[in-house]
Amino acid sequence: MAFELKEGLFVVDELKNVSIKIGKVIEEEEEWTEPMGPTPKPDILALRKWDMKLLERYEPFYAPVQDFCNLCTMGPCDLSMNKRGACGIDLKTAKARLVTIACCIGAASHGGHARHMIDHLIKEFGEDFPIDLGGDVNIEAPIIRTVIGIRPKTLGDLREAMEWAERELMRVLHATHIGNEESLLDYESKAMHVSMVDHVVMEIADIAQIVAYNMPKAEPDTPLVDTGFGVIDKNKPVIVVVGHNVLYSKPVLDYLEEMGRLEDFEIAGLCCTTHDMARVGGKGSSKIFGPISYQLRVIRSGLPDVMVSDEQCIRADLLEACKAMGIPLIATSDAAVRGLPDVSEWPVEKIVDALVSGKLPGVFLPDPEKVGQVAPLVAEGVFKKHGGERKYRFFATDEDLWNEINKCTQCMNCVFTCPHNLRIDQGMEHAQKTKDLSKLAKLEEQCIACMKCEQACPKSIKIINVIMASNFERLYNKTGKTRVGRGPVQDTEIRNVGQPIVMGQIPGVIAAVGCINFPDEMKSLREIIEEFIKRRYIVVTSGCHAMDLGMIKDEDGQTVFEKYPGNFDAGCITNMGSCVANSHIAGAAIKIANIFAMRPLRGNYAEIADYVLNRVGAVGFSWGPYSHKAAAIATGFNRLGVPVVVGPHGTKYRRAYIGKYYKPEKWWVYDIKTRKKMNIEPAPDSLLIAVETKEEAIVQLARLCIRPNDTSLGRQIKLTHYLELSQKYLGTLPDDWPIYVRSEADLPLRMKEELMHILESEHGWKIDWDKKKIVEGPIRPFDAGFNPTLVEEVYEKYAGEKPPQ
């Protein structure tokens, strides 16, 4: 029965001293026929059993950065060689705790963003504002359905998931206090739990902003937005936004649109806010300056007339950097007030005057609507002052540049503090001797402009400016196109690709996401990604990886977004959007289990993750991860059964999940068809692994797409790519290819006979050459009805009996 009660006081006749409390009002009859699964709103231990299955196979690996702990007053404690500290914790467990804390920070960042977003949007649009992600998206919130067990229909419904997330985050953070967990595995389970929380809150944040701000709703063919330094019209006032929460900077677009003055300004941004600004209204009204590593490049270029910062990943010295260039800063997020005065109560004119005149270098203005008015007025005021004559060559004259270069004594202090150990000394020395800046210019392609080098330099050389100025023409003329973030994957797209992914005919889904701490020049990212697009994998991207790809052109002058379609399909590349849009990648994997395999989602996490691990050949890839959020995103994918490959800086997260192929007892499943517990090939054999080079990245990504449930044709296709890529980049067949062979039908057609000879002669397999069949050798035979699971309850559900021992 449906009924509606308005808020207010109620008088019930004849009753006195009676208190009536109304909890959640179900506004209409529940029409979701899917039965509730075993773990709706899972508490901190509800999925521990699943985690332990993963951790048994994928053993945590720790690479300490510090071997001491100083988190309490009993310390500091020497934990080296796995010693225990005063509290009793050993080094490995201390690292597991640290990783859990990092994942908590990541989840709290997305969670804080999500909470802020839904509170604000509910206030603005009302709690009944519908969640409508377009006609092609019926499974609106696959993660929330699977984890929380609800189908959110309105913005208000998202609060239920949010409240659960906040509670679980608190519980996990509690566990990291001194004197709690003793087992590193339990910390890892908690890291996975809070990282699953992270995926939930990312989904909340992105769904809320998509529906409320009319961002693209699962549209493959979104507009292309101008990307790079060279796209900025320097003859207009330039407003630069930086951060991750579009809530504060969207009103800038609204205000200018309302005033009919959008064309009079340049609005560009850095990092995820700029993705979301481009998504607002689905129009691509703002431009993308570049990734988060472009902050100092942009500020020191002198191009911005005003900076608007919000939260996450922004430089902690943003105000100082802006001040040095005379660029007014408007800080907006309560997460990053930057010591600035709160001017929320000031009239707009007073704020504008304070910033344009330079009386204040920056202000804290947590009122989005006011930011919308103030930022353009400040930009216009500053622009009028300089009249378009910006100091944007990093140095006033060439002489100034050479004076800086000539100060260098090659002491190498910069090299030994640079995250990449870039050979700045060699670039300087080469320039001093030859007047050739090319070696310094090359460094620009890899420098993340962290500025540590400048602090280390005893001669106070402006090293960042030298590097940027050395590559000035190339940097300043860099232009490209990024496809505006599309948000979710359509249910219809999943219907089309679900079967070929699970069967293996589409060899895999590669998700290139995350930050920019690349070990190599930016173009290496495109080389890696394009290898897979050309081989007709499904490639998705988001965040800084997406905007980097939007700046790298091929010889025909095209970025991958111009060259390939934006569908979630083989041979395409689709940009999901900002950090929080990563939730749609996990969502797509979940939807495959539901739409293609009819697995119920509702409160049914372990079954879905088990399905994904065994059947969905998706691999995450982060070439340059650095944030805590990236740690949480990756660990959340790991719990969902998706392996992640990271660049070499990723080892500084300290922990990986790496299986041991040579331990057959670790690699088993229950087969629901044969009612047996059986050994399988180690596929995938790691959940989180670092690579050193692009060559290694390409091979590992192909390798980790292999899944136990591949059909013969699917395995044949996956092995074809794996073997070809290994031969191309490693110069040989991979060492482990035979362990993935279940029958002769798995072998790549082009190499079949050659490979069968190798199996016979080098690995002792028995071959029937008359029938051209493998008789003996594989770990297991191929069975078309193979139905693997690691979860006892799932076995029992589908087999109708207890699993075999």
Binding site: F61, D67, S80, N421, I689, Y729
Partner: protein, 181 residues
């Protein structure tokens, strides 16, 4: 040409000023010490990294290791340039991250199945990446680790000193190692 007594070895300056731990730092060793450690080892192995794709000299050095009977585990794609020289690495596809995880396992018999390696020499890696792996091996294994890269690696048991300012000296030291084994 061997490194002469007159050569002055630079000080052992950590590849990264902030990569500090309270436990022991690597003993900075001269080439003859490295050669002796390898000669005395029962199961030595050379692990090569991605830098071999960009520095021909390192390939040449690895080739000489191999010719002296030291097996090679190739990572980072370095197998391609080694195979072109006729070398058969024990492994080509596993990353250094995998290899380190396997080495931490006392039950692991090595890629050739003949038993655990006792002395591991590292050549041609991104310094920050190698450092993390050396830290894992320092804290959680008894293995003897030797870095012969040009950056001094504090978490190895033994490391070349910092040779980043003198490539010629670095190459001569590499030659002396391979000539001494």
């Amino acid at each position: 040409m061997a490194v002469s007594k007159e050569d002055k070895y630079p000080i052992a300056r950590r590849y990264q000023i902030a990569d500090i731990q309270v436990s022991r730092e690597a003993t900075a060793v001269k080439p003859n010490v490295v050669a002796n450690l390898i000669k005395k080892a029962k199961r030595p192995v050379l692990v090569t990294g991605g830098k071999l794709l960009r520095e021909e000299k390192l390939v040449e050095v690895a080739e000489k290791f191999y010719s002296k009977g030291i097996p090679i585990i190739a990572t980072g794609g370095s197998s391609r340039v080694l195979i072109e020289k006729g070398i058969k690495p024990q492994s080509s596809v596993f990353t250094l991250h995998y290899v380190t995880q396997f080495m931490l396992d006392e039950d692991w018999k090595g890629f050739d199945g003949k038993g655990p390696y006792d002395v591991v020499i590292f050549l041609g890696f991104l310094p920050y990446y190698l450092s993390r792996m050396l830290s894992a091996l320092k804290h959680f294994s008894k293995m003897t680790t030797i870095s012969i890269d040009e950056f001094y690696q504090p978490h190895a048991k033994f490391s070349f000193t910092n040779l980043t300012a003198n490539k010629e000296l670095y190459y001569r030291m590499l030659d002396e190692v391979v000539n001494g084994i």
